[in-house]
């Protein structure tokens, strides 16, 4: 546990001192730009537009940061060989993977929090009245980030190229929004083999429909048992696979 905490701590330092805040500055500018633009164009709908556009931006930025950070989480350490000095210490490889993973989730979580604070600042400044649904929607985004991060980490350990890992993860990310369509497609298939393949995909891709509270803003089911359980189970299975892959890796 102590080792996981130590590795998590340096992962957070690494990310904060290097990458994530450039993206956040970019986000802050995007929000300011959007605010000025929609203030001019939207008239009475300014609040609604800034609310929706802001949440979309938070989700896209959050997921992109999560994908890029997760993919480089271990690959970069292997390329720079800094991993030698950690793995030649008495730490389990699973501890290393968990420390890096939780450090990354924490960093992206801090980034998400900063983005939400900026967004809320603008919303309140133009007269938006705080709604519980907003915070649930943001929580849904956090769960999606956790899911996509484990997928990205898995692909980064599976392949040796960061480009291939990013492409695979983005492919899964897009499919994650098409769960219902994939299920419908499999039910319409006559060919048993194709049906099985599509069904298999339906089960292995992360199903973002469970976490998409943003799309059901007016009608959120506030009982979070299913989304949280789904995220936990999916992430744990992914992390177990990551540990197995990593334990067999040579450097």
């Amino acid at each position: 546990m102590k080792n996981i905490f130590q590795i998590m701590r340096y992962t957070v330092k690494e990310n904060i001192r290097h990458k994530i805040f450039y993206v956040l500055i970019l986000f802050a500018f995007a929000i300011i730009g959007a605010d000025i633009l929609f203030g001019v164009l939207a008239g009475d709908e300014q609040v609604r537009l800034l609310l929706d556009m802001g949440m979309v931006a938070i989700e896209i930025f959050g997921l992109l940061v999560a994908i890029f950070v997760s993919v480089s989480l271990v690959l970069e350490e292997i390329e720079s060989k800094t991993i030698y000095l950690l793995l030649s210490r008495p730490i389990k490889r699973t501890e290393y993977i968990l420390g890096r993973y939780f450090g990354m989730i924490l960093t992206v979580g801090i980034g998400l929090l900063i983005m939400v604070v900026v967004h809320l600042g603008f919303l309140l400044a133009i007269g938006w009245k705080s709604e519980l649904a907003y915070f649930y929607s943001i929580f849904g985004i956090l769960l999606k980030i956790i899911l996509i991060s484990t997928v990205a980490l898995f692909f980064s350990l599976f392949s040796t190229s960061s480009v291939a890992s990013i492409v695979f993860t983005i492919f899964f990310w897009i499919l994650g929004y098409l769960g219902t369509e994939i299920k419908f497609l499999s039910s319409k298939m006559v060919n048993i083999f194709l049906k099985a393949v599509i069904k298999f995909f339906f089960y292995i891709i992360p199903n973002f429909q469970y976490l998409n509270f943003r799309d059901r803003y007016e009608n959120i089911d506030y009982l979070m048992l299913v989304p949280i359980t789904y995220t936990l189970v999916y992430s744990i299975v992914c992390l177990i696979l990551c540990s197995i892959l990593f334990s067999k890796k040579e450097f």
Partner: protein
């Protein structure tokens, strides 16, 4: 007890190709022991399998055949790793951490108790003469300073065995002397030092025994006290030439 025991260690790299995998024999049936408390040199030309052997001892590579033991503990295991301090050829360190932060990380994951960690960090920074730069990020360090941080991280947890990969490569004369002094000081403290090198003169100055390897095979083990001073280089070249022919 032997610090290192190697029994028929073999490592074959397999490069995966579409049609037929390509195999490369990097270490071939290597067997030798390193006694506790000695300085042991592991000599060989570039590409002779020195780093592969070291990586196997550290659990970074898995042996294809044979086995190794560190103070009786089978490699790879957490018990064997807890007894090792490792200095790689190039100090692969996190550039965004300060000297103090990196030593705190490595000390902590190596089992140094939190209560003595700060004291221990100050001690090793004193040893490698970097106390005034402890809060500087490693990205701002020169090559020589990074090498000294490398030494500090290897000894932070007071390991019984030091494994140093090419510790003399790229050092200036003062750096060479400092490194030699550090190794001799470790021996005086009762530690075992195992280092790889192709700088024969340095090995002859400090080792009690050296192993000469070539193309993954052990050619000879030389006891320094039994040879004429200054003759190790000729012995090394003779052995390599014999193996080539």
């Amino acid at each position: 007890m032997n610090a290192i025991e190697m029994k028929n260690l073999t490592k074959i790299y397999i490069k995966k190709r579409l049609l037929k995998n390509k195999k490369f024999l990097a270490v071939d049936n290597l067997s030798f022991n390193v006694a506790e408390g000695e300085i042991f040199g592991f000599l060989g030309p570039n590409g002779s399998g020195k780093t592969t052997t070291i990586k196997t001892l550290l659990g970074l590579l898995y042996p294809s055949a044979g086995e190794c033991f560190i103070f009786g503990e089978k490699v790879p295991s957490l018990a064997s790793l807890s007894k090792i301090g490792y200095l790689p050829e190039i100090p692969y360190l996190y550039k965004y951490l300060t000297a103090k932060e990196i030593l705190s990380l490595y000390g902590s994951v190596s089992g140094v108790p939190e209560t003595v960690l700060v004291k221990r960090i100050n001690e090793v920074l004193e040893t490698v003469k970097l106390k005034t730069e402890k809060d500087t990020r490693l990205g701002e360090f020169s090559k020589g300073m990074l090498q000294r941080v490398g030494v500090a991280q290897a000894i932070i947890h007071q390991p019984q065995l030091l494994i140093l990969d090419e510790p003399f490569t790229g050092l200036d004369p003062i750096g060479l002397k400092d490194m030699r002094d550090v190794i001799l000081k470790l021996k005086a403290e009762g530690k075992t030092v195992f280092f790889s090198s192709h700088i024969i003169s340095e090995a002859e100055k400090i080792c009690s025994r050296v192993a000469i390897i070539h193309k993954g095979k052990l050619l000879r083990i030389v006891e320094i006290t039994r040879i004429k001073p200054g003759s190790l280089e000729n012995i090394f070249i003779d052995e390599i030439n014999k193996a080539e022919n």
